[in-house]
Structure formats: structure tokens, C-alpha cells
Amino acid sequence: MATVIAIILSAVLTNNFITKQTLGICPFLGVSKKTSSAVGMGVAVTIVMTLATAVTYPIYEYVMVPLNFAFLEIIVFIFIIASLVQMLEMIIRKVSPALYNAMGVYLPLITTNCAVLGVCELVIGDMSDLIGGAAMNFGWAVLYAFFAGLGFTLIMIIMSGMREKLNNIKVAKYLNGFPISMVTASFICMAFMVFTYIA
């Protein structure tokens, strides 16, 4: 139970993907202009991160390591992620056109999102500072991926709220656009640095 709480706190607050590990910055800066699109992107990323970890972790652990081709992890992972995203897009379009309209445009972008490949690489690496001496298993990997996605969504929503307010303010010419969003993001990071002390 302690491990579960440690994983949740670490994934959402202390080792948040955006504010601590700086992964998934492209959608964070690109799709955070409106809260509705930020929520859509966050949910899509969470789903893909969880599914990608659920598929890549067993393949790596039970197929690639015993058969001695673990060095091909990058090629295998990126193909699994790309086909997963493609499949998810087809399924959503068939099952729920309304959801597809809301979320479909973000799905192709997710293939090249660092956060997805990043979480797949993280859970097969060294996680001993998080789960102690215990061995990593499938359940914890998927749990970590899911809550890391939730942490990503949380930051996306905070950022989009701040940017909606920013729209009403006149910003200097060269600061407009990316620079001012990055300075805004910096303040979110500073706020989240507080959580490092609870670990």
C-alpha cells in the first residue's frame, strides 16, 4: 500500500512529467490555449500512455529480455506506440463519432509525444528510488503510467487557465506567444517545486 501511495504522489506531484522531468512539452505549449482542448489532449495522452505501457512492458519483460534482443527497445516501442495510436483512432471513430470529433484531432500528434515513449522507457529502467527494494511488476508499471498521465492533464489544465487569462492582457511584441507561455510555465514549475519536500 505504501508503494502505491508513493507511486501516485511521485507521478502526479513530485516527479510530474512536465514540471520535473520536462517531457511532453510540445503539446503542453501547443494545445494549451483553451481549457477544453487542453482537457481533450490530457485525456488522450493519459489513455495512450496507460495502454502503451500495458503493451510494451510485458513485451519487453517477457519476450525481448529472454530472447536477448532488448537492445532493439526503441524501434519496437515506437512501432507499438504508432500502431496503438492508429488503432485507437479507428476504434474511436467507429464506436463514438462524438468522442472522435472532440479528441480525434489530438490523437495523431501523440505518436511523437515524448511523454509516451518516455514513460515506456522509464518503467523498464531503474525505479528503485520509488518502489524500494521490491521488484518492478506489471501492475505498478501501469499504475505509474496512468497517474503520470493524470499529472500531465493537471498541469495542462492549470496552464490553459492561465493562458486564457493572458489573452486579455497586452504583451510586449517579442514576448508574445512562446516566450510569455514559457515564463508562465516557469511559475507553475516553481509552485510544484514545493511538493518535493513531502517526499
Binding site: I25, I78, A82, T112, C114, M190
Partner: protein
């Protein structure tokens, strides 16, 4: 030769992948807390970007248009795997310093972006120059920001201690965000000023040419009258 000069200048300054196009932000923000790791990341990207541009450009007539993105990803992922194995074997320090970001070069938008925007419609030599200059632009941007962040955040440069005091916040992601944002602002302002200067000069030349032509024209008219 002029063509290669334009490609080089575009890659390093006018279309700088980090400051103007704002691509490949994740490794940038993750690694600029240390100038050395930023430089190492830049060098790894130069190698991969140049090789991937050359290979994709050489194969551009063989790759079917419909499945070109998966083909590019195979090429890039293979190169990244190779670089990773080479670094792991010969430079384990660099491998440790870059950590997870080495594998994430695969999803770095700069590399796929250059393949899609340049390498698939230009010759091998042009693509090589383009890859090299974009890589140099990326490396220069990362190293410059790395120097700022490390000097202010840790009081050191490339690992050598210079100042006894420092602002620790600047070596965390929060500081990286601020330095990156303000650097983009400064770089676009400088490039804009430079390009406006070039535009003014071009306009003046054009006007002089036009006046010269007019003067010559009037002259000929007068000659004809005479």
C-alpha cells in the same frame, strides 16, 4: 555555392530549430541545467540529423509517399539505437549524463521535421548541409542557454567552479523555462532587427536601380529626340 550558404544561414539563424521554430523543446529544457550535457546532446543530434537527412534523401525515390513517415521513423530509430550502443560502450559518462533523453531523440521533432520538410525533396549533398547546419543551430542554442543556466544556477562553467554563490532556482526546470523563454524573445528581436536592416538595404538598392534605369531611359529618350 550561394545555395549552400543560404541553407547554412537558414539552419543556424533565420530558421533556427530551437529559437525560431521552437522544436525539440523537451531535451532542451531537460538538459540546459548543465552546459556540458547540453553540448553533448547537441553533438549527438548533429550526428543523427546529418546521417538521417543523408539516408532519407538518398532513399527519397524508393520510399512510397503513403508510408513515408513510418519509413523515416525506422531510419531515425535505427540511428538512435546505434548511437546509444556506441556511447554506452565508449563514452559511458556521456551515456549517463544524457540519460533518458538519448532514447527520446527518436521523437525529437527537429529530425522528423527536417526529413519531412527538406530531405525528401532535395539532393544528398544539400540535405547533408541542411542537417549539419540545423544541428549546429540546435547545439549553439543549447550550449548558450546551458552556459547561462549553469553559470547563474550552479556558479560553474562546464563543471569548473567560478562563482562561490549561485541562484539555485535557475538550475531546476523552472529556471530552464524562464531562460528558454527570454532567450527566444531576445533571439527573435535580434533576427528581426537584422532582417529589417537587410530589407531596408534591399529596398534602397532596388530604388537606386529603378532610378538608374529611369535616368538611363530619360537619357535615351533625350538622345532619340536629339
Amino acid at each position: 555555392m550561394n545555395k549552400y550558404k543560404k541553407i547554412t544561414l537558414d539552419g543556424i539563424f533565420f530558421n533556427n530549430p530551437t529559437f525560431i521554430l521552437v522544436l525539440g523543446t523537451c531535451p532542451t529544457l531537460g538538459l540546459i541545467s548543465s552546459a556540458l550535457s547540453a553540448l553533448e546532446m547537441g553533438l549527438a543530434v548533429i550526428v543523427i540529423l546529418t546521417l538521417s537527412n543523408v539516408i532519407i534523401s538518398a532513399l527519397r525515390n524508393l520510399i512510397p509517399n503513403e508510408v513515408r513517415i513510418p519509413c523515416y521513423i525506422v531510419v531515425i530509430a535505427t540511428l538512435v539505437t546505434l548511437i546509444r550502443m556506441v556511447l554506452d560502450k565508449f563514452l559511458p559518462d556521456v551515456y549517463e549524463a544524457l540519460g533518458g533523453f538519448l532514447a527520446l531523440i527518436v521523437v525529437n521533432c527537429i529530425i522528423l521535421g527536417r526529413a519531412e520538410a527538406f530531405a525528401n525533396k532535395h539532393t544528398v549533398a544539400e540535405s547533408a548541409v541542411d542537417g549539419l547546419s540545423n544541428g549546429v543551430g540546435f547545439t549553439m542554442a543549447l550550449t548558450a542557454m546551458g552556459i547561462i543556466c549553469e553559470f547563474l544556477g550552479k556558479g560553474s562553467l562546464f563543471g569548473f567552479e567560478i562563482m562561490p554563490f549561485s541562484i539555485g532556482m535557475l538550475s531546476t526546470p523552472a529556471g530552464a523555462f524562464i531562460v528558454f523563454g527570454l532567450s527566444i524573445c531576445a533571439f527573435t528581436a535580434i533576427i528581426d532587427k537584422f532582417q529589417r536592416g537587410a530589407r531596408v538595404k534591399a529596398n534602397r538598392l532596388a530604388r537606386e536601380n529603378l532610378m538608374g534605369v529611369n535616368a538611363a531611359g530619360e537619357q535615351t529618350v533625350e538622345e532619340v529626340k536629339a
